[in-house]
Amino acid sequence: MEAVISQALAEGRNLTEPEALELLKAYGFPIVEHRFASSGEEAVEAASAIGYPVVLKIVSRDILHKSDAGGVALNLCGPDDIKAAFRQVIESVKKHKGDAAINGVLVARMAPPGTEVILGMVRDPQFGPTIMFGLGGVFVEVYKDVSFRILPLTEEDALEMVQEIKGFPLLKGIRGQGPKDIGSIVNGIMRLSRLVQENPRILEIDLNPIVVYEKGCEVLDARIILM
């Protein structure tokens, strides 16, 4: 995986999403099933291999925030949907940023609903690489309900950072929902910390969202920024 990072750095860009997902997979993260497609036809092929419904996401070195650029289409249920979405995604991205280099799209299985969490890494100027955990969506954006730990961290630290967020009861299970797989989040935190320690040229990581189920979890989206 070192080679992928070196190549991206040589090309003066960050990791593309397929590269980021590969890197995460190499560290044992459960990743949503996905394929790369460079045309509408390829996207249809990919979707039938994965199984419907699927999502399409733009793959471009120039687009960091895919949704803001109109580069994401959700819940696509058949070949016609996909072909139309492919055209539309490419068009919106070009409109958003005329000179964006577009590689194609990522076709990913539409994940079943679960509890969305985020996991990330930022570098603190004083304490170095810092892992962040929080509940996804409104919880992180509005309530800033997140916890941090400095590297290196222990499994106990990882569990504490999950337990200390205010929204923790949502993971323990409320209103008849079963408890979510907290062990899988702790494993994710430990994997992320190993990845960060072994890849010092990564500046920032944003895994948002990771969907957590009663058994297991799955990374749906990854952004890895290099130094």
Binding site: Q126, F127, R149, I150, D157, E160, E164
Partner: protein, 445 residues
């Protein structure tokens, strides 16, 4: 100091600062208005056990001591220099100290990095010269070092009560207030170090030093920002003693104020919060808590769990204590049937057997003891609120199980009892909230 200089090497090099056998006061003055006079006088009045050499270009005699033009004129070995001369002259003075073989310096003078680019350059030179000679420096721009266990007060105010709490501070006044309270409480302190600009010695060095200092049981810090994150993490990891930190900068405005006060990079508060939790550091949210938490951690044994009984002579104080206890995650658990039965049989019938346990106007020291003795096997800690002039309170408290004493509303009797408690090294807290929050620190990690 480089990373490799941590641990015992760093500790040994600080001996010249904390346990010198002799001191030169560079910039000693015969003028009582000047710091060079006041600090020399404090060093003498604190009863320092070794020779003290005033250094002043005009020589003569200061406070009855022969004064020298330069440290080089002193024939005997000198361990520590206390430097109180204008900033531009400091680097050269440190150079002379190095030549003389002096291994520690406390630079009181300001006008260094806090004052602008020229000052920063002076500070850089000072640090470079000190490093070249292996001379360790506290400051510059600081309020000095007070180490009552070594009768060393190169600082102000002159407070000498020996105790077990070390206070390390980026603010002289906050350190002084801490010492003052500890002195009034007759608990004392083990050392005070004013960090100043941290040209050399920083909080990580001091955590390492006091981790191994036999007189210190708890390390209290007022910190506007760490100097070196990695070193701080390392020092805190290796420290077997409780550390309490008061770290302001929770707001953007506070961070800006900190940066202008000490040039500290105040950093993101949530990251500091994470660092403190990860290193099992107790975070105080104000100056009283810094003192209260330190006092509790230094003098109270750790309860086995979170189940507490509140015994009070004041109903209102019992309610306040219960509220805070619940907020802090302590369990104000009802009395087990066996204990309730026993107390019902032994106490007058009008007592309500509950937690908080209100002894009402009947309360006296003997009654507290009776309840505590009966309840001890059932609780992890007992909170005793003396809410009236209750003589003899200090005679009925033991530390098995841990007992937190809160005394208020007792006027002269309270003041006498508080002193008696403190002489027995049992801390007394002035309000239910402060006592309970201090107790919660004992079971936090």
């Amino acid at each position: 100091m480089e990373q490799g200089a941590s641990g015992s090497k760093s500790r040994d090099s600080l001996k010249a600062v904390f346990r010198p056998a002799s001191i030169a006061v560079v910039g000693a003055s015969a003028n009582p208005e000047k710091w060079g006079f006041k600090i020399l006088k404090n060093i003498l009045d604190a009863g320092f056990q070794g020779p003290v050499y005033p250094i002043n270009p005009k020589a003569g005699e200061i406070l009855g001591l022969r004064s020298y033009r330069s440290v080089n004129e002193i024939e005997a070995q000198v361990d520590l220099a206390v430097v109180i001369i204008p900033a531009p002259a400091v680097p050269e003075a440190i150079e002379e100290c190095g030549q003389k073989g002096i291994k520690g310096a406390i630079v009181i003078t300001g006008g260094f990095s806090e004052a602008g680019p020229e000052g920063a350059e002076l500070e850089r030179r000072l640090a470079e010269i000190a490093a070249r000679w292996g001379l360790r420096v506290v400051g510059p721009n600081c309020q000095g070092v007070n180490h009552p266990h070594h009768s060393l007060c190169a600082s102000w105010p002159l407070i000498q009560d020996k105790g077990e709490m070390a206070i390390i501070s980026q603010s002289g006044t906050i350190g002084a207030a801490f010492m003052d309270w500890a002195s009034l409480d007759r608990l004392g302190f083990s050392a005070f170090v004013s960090l100043g600009n941290r040209a050399d010695i920083d909080e990580a060095d001091l955590i390492e030093y006091f981790s191994a200092d036999g007189d210190t049981r708890v390390i209290a810090l007022y910190l506007e920002g760490v100097k070196d994150g990695a070193r701080f993490l390392e020092a805190a990891r290796g420290c077997p003693k409780p550390i309490v930190v008061l770290k302001p900068g929770r707001t953007e405005q506070g961070r800006r104020a900190a940066e202008s006060h000490t040039r500290s990079l105040a950093g993101r508060d949530e990251i500091y919060e994470a660092v403190f939790r990860q290193r099992r550091i107790h975070r105080a949210s104000n100056l009283e808590e810094l003192y209260d938490f330190s006092k509790a951690l230094a003098y109270l044994p750790c309860p086995r769990g979170k189940k507490i009984l509140i015994v009070t002579s004041s109903g209102g104080s019992g309610v306040l204590a219960t509220d805070v206890a619940a907020l802090e995650g302590l369990e104000v658990a009802s009395l087990p049937g066996e204990l309730a039965g026993r107390l019902r049989a032994e106490l007058p019938s009008h007592f309500v057997i509950s937690n908080p346990f209100d002894l009402t106007g009947d309360a006296d020291a003997r009654l507290y003891r009776k309840v505590v003795e009966a309840a001890s096997p059932y609780y992890d800690a007992i909170v005793l609120i003396f809410g009236d002039p209750l003589p003899g309170a200090s005679e009925v408290v033991t530390q098995e199980p841990p007992q937190v004493v809160i005394y208020l509303g007792g006027a002269d009797v309270e003041r006498r009892e508080r002193e008696l408690f403190h002489l027995k090294k049992i801390p007394v807290f002035p309000t239910p909230e402060r006592g309970i929050r201090a107790l919660s620190q004992l079971v936090k990690y």
